[in-house]
Every structure is written in structure tokens, then in C-alpha cells.
């Protein structure tokens, strides 16, 4: 990517550009399928078989098994598509925020509330 070439990485932050999108295309396509209830049911019935059908790599399938959001992101997952996958595991955006930050849900919520403690601007 011309615009990102030579850019310093942003600590703890993903930028979903062309290279990541290529890496994660199959993974994201699988997640996109979860907009439909019947596809969510098919996944739940046979998680790994569903992943194989979409051509996920071994690493991606392993990260799905482990519900490891950071690993999925590093393997090209996009957070908006991944949310449809993690939603099936009963994880909402705050749950996966805490998981990625490596803190408990309560700590994650407290951190957000703390950012709001100073007087509203």
C-alpha cells in the first residue's frame, strides 16, 4: 500500500489494508455468511467442517477453535466480520475488547468509565 508503505505500525492497533484483507479473505467470507441463521446453525453443528468448507488455513481454524480474537485479527480477520463469529460464542464487543486488552471484563468496563469521569466537554 502506497499510503501505508514505510508507515510505523500503531502499537496495539490493526489497520485493515490490502495485505491483511488478502490474508483474511476466506475467514471474513465465512464470517459474512453468519448474517444468515441457517449458516450459524451449520457452523454450530460442525465448527471445523464449516471452516474447512470456506478454505480457512490451519492457523485460522485453530484460532477459531480457541476463540482467540487477536490471533484471528493477525490472520486477516476484520473486526466487523469477526463480530458475527464471536457473537455465536456469546461474546459481545466489550467481551472481546477485554480479551484483546488482556484484562477482565470488569477492568475493561472500568477503564472506559474512567475515560468518561472527567467533566463532559
Amino acid at each position: 500500500m502506497k499510503s501505508l508503505a514505510g508507515k510505523k505500525p500503531i502499537p496495539g492497533t490493526m489497520v485493515f489494508e490490502g495485505r491483511m484483507a488478502m490474508k483474511g479473505y476466506a475467514l471474513n467470507k465465512m464470517c459474512f455468511s453468519f448474517n444468515k441463521a441457517e449458516n450459524r446453525d451449520a457452523f454450530k453443528a460442525d465448527e471445523d467442517g464449516y471452516c474447512t468448507k470456506y478454505g480457512l488455513t490451519d492457523e485460522q481454524r485453530d484460532a477459531v477453535k480457541k476463540r482467540n480474537v487477536l490471533a484471528l485479527l493477525n490472520l486477516g480477520g476484520n473486526i466487523y466480520y469477526l463480530a458475527k463469529l464471536t457473537g455465536m460464542f456469546g461474546l459481545n464487543m466489550q467481551d472481546i475488547g477485554a480479551q484483546q486488552a488482556g484484562i477482565s471484563l470488569e477492568e475493561f468496563k472500568a477503564k472506559l468509565l474512567a475515560a468518561g469521569e472527567t467533566k463532559n466537554g
Partner: protein
């Protein structure tokens, strides 16, 4: 002729939709957020716009990476909401104004914007949450026709902030040249600072958001000095959605007054902002 009577900038966090659904407007967690919408509700009640141009982004309901438009505009008679996969209850369909959509598309393409035309599209929470926020009751939403404008802030490269501001200006021109007697409002949605992915998940930036809100009326160009990559660092990768507010701002022109503003952290993982501008000529 059609008149752009005002514009609103607003966040579009999915949790807001649930909160409205569940009647949590006065709940202690939600009150500091919803209080900021009271002036908007009053203004909408008073002005009763005929049409809303709603600038938002799709989060993986209608568009996938196979075909990711930079700017997509709806030209349908009706827009359906649908299951996004993680439990948000779909809203009733929204009524379009295809003739007005075609006019805007035509004007924009002749002004050298390379629009993707959508005669059928699903609208996701990026669209439905602002609709619920502006018009919490179904009977209110039924009174407003909509024109969805979907912006790519999912797959880099996103449109530049400058391009968004220019698109807004061209939309202002398109509305002003439509020969029907309509009151039009434009909504710029998304943001403000938030980060959903990576170890820094939960990042917000009150200082930057506050300056953005402060400068939006008189100096919207202020945001243009940051690239989208720089913005991702400053306000988080999802905070970059704030460039969509520039489309709203650009459409309104310079003859506007700011009627209200609110800022609150957190709603879910997000710093939520709302601002209301009115066209002084109206």
C-alpha cells in the same frame, strides 16, 4: 426547490438501538447520552423534515470485500434492515425517495463523484441506530423518507477527509437543484473516538473529539491535516468514522448556526458525540 434545513452528527453504536428498544432512556448509564438528544428531538418535532440523507457505513451486512464501494447511494423505494448475526432485532423497513435519489446520483456523477448506485440494499445498525435516535418512535420514522449514503470506512484505503468534505459540498448543490418543495436534513454518523480491535481496544480520545466538535462549524478543514492512518492512531481505527461527519458538514455550507452539542464516554466501547446544526437561511 428542496432546502437543506439542517444537519446532525451522531454516533451509531448498536447498543443504542437496544437501549431505545428497552426503554432505557432515563437509565443512569444512558441518561447522560440521551440527554444530549433532547434538543435534536425538539428540533425534529418542530421542523418535521420530509427527507433524511443518512451518511453511514455498512459493518458487513450489505457489503462484503468482494465489492466494496467507496461511496454507495441507495435508489430504492424501500430499504430493509436485517439480522446482522449477533442479536440486534431488525427494524421495520424504511421508505425511500427514489426519484430524489436519482437526482442526487445524477448531479454527483456529473460533478465527478464516482458513485455506486444501489437499487436494492440492506441497511445495518449504522443506518438504523441514527434513525431510532433522531426519531425514536416508529410513527415518527414513518414520516421521513430516506436516502442512504454508505461510505467505506472498513477496508483501507478509505476516502480522504478532504474527499468527504467535497462530497458534502456537492450534495448541498444537488439538493438545492432539486425542483420539489422538500425540507431535507442530512445526518453524518459514526465515531467519535473508539477502537474495537487490537491490544489497545477500548481506546478513546476526549481531547481530540472535543476539538473536532469545537471546530466542526467554523473550521471543518481542521480535520484534513490528518491522514486516515494518523487518525487511526489518534482516535482509534473505528474512530476514523468521524470523516463521515464532514460529508454532513460540507453539505450545509457556511450559513449555519450550532444549536446543540453533547459528548459522553462511554457508550459500549465508544466516545459518543452529537451535534445539531441549523441552516440560518431557513
Amino acid at each position: 426547490m428542496a432546502r437543506l434545513i439542517g444537519g446532525v452528527g451522531s454516533s451509531h453504536v448498536p447498543a443504542i438501538g437496544n437501549a431505545i428498544e428497552q426503554g432505557l432512556i432515563s437509565d443512569p448509564y444512558w441518561a447522560p447520552f440521551f440527554d444530549g438528544y433532547k434538543p435534536v428531538w425538539n428540533w425534529m418535532e418542530e421542523k418535521k423534515p420530509d427527507v433524511a440523507i443518512l451518511v453511514y457505513n455498512d459493518h458487513g451486512l450489505n457489503f462484503f470485500l468482494d465489492t466494496m464501494p467507496t461511496f454507495a447511494i441507495g435508489a430504492a423505494a424501500e430499504y430493509q434492515n436485517a439480522d446482522e448475526g449477533w442479536g440486534l432485532k431488525p427494524l421495520d423497513p424504511f421508505q425511500g425517495d427514489p426519484e430524489f435519489s436519482w437526482h442526487i446520483i445524477d448531479s454527483l456523477i456529473h460533478d465527478e463523484f464516482d458513485i455506486t448506485m444501489c437499487q436494492e440494499m440492506l441497511v445495518d445498525h449504522g443506518f438504523t441506530v441514527p434513525m431510532s435516535l433522531m426519531w425514536p418512535k416508529q410513527e415518527q420514522r414513518d414520516q421521513v423518507k430516506v436516502i442512504p449514503l454508505c461510505v467505506n470506512v472498513v477496508q483501507y484505503p478509505f476516502p480522504t477527509a478532504r474527499r468527504c468534505l467535497k462530497l458534502g459540498e456537492a450534495i448541498g448543490k444537488a439538493v438545492a437543484s432539486y425542483d420539489k418543495d422538500l425540507d431535507v436534513v442530512i445526518l453524518g454518523t459514526g465515531g467519535l473516538s473508539h477502537q474495537l480491535d487490537g491490544e489497545r481496544a477500548g481506546h478513546t480520545n476526549r481531547e481530540f473529539d472535543t476539538e473536532f466538535l469545537e471546530k466542526l462549524k467554523d473550521e471543518p478543514e481542521w480535520l484534513l491535516k490528518y491522514s486516515n492512518y494518523e487518525l487511526a492512531e489518534i482516535v482509534g481505527p473505528q474512530g476514523v468514522e468521524m470523516i463521515m461527519w464532514l460529508i454532513m458538514r460540507g453539505a450545509l455550507g457556511d450559513n449555519i448556526r450550532e444549536l446543540s452539542r453533547n459528548y459522553h464516554i462511554p457508550i459500549s466501547n465508544t466516545a459518543a458525540g452529537v451535534i445539531l446544526f441549523e441552516n440560518e437561511a431557513v
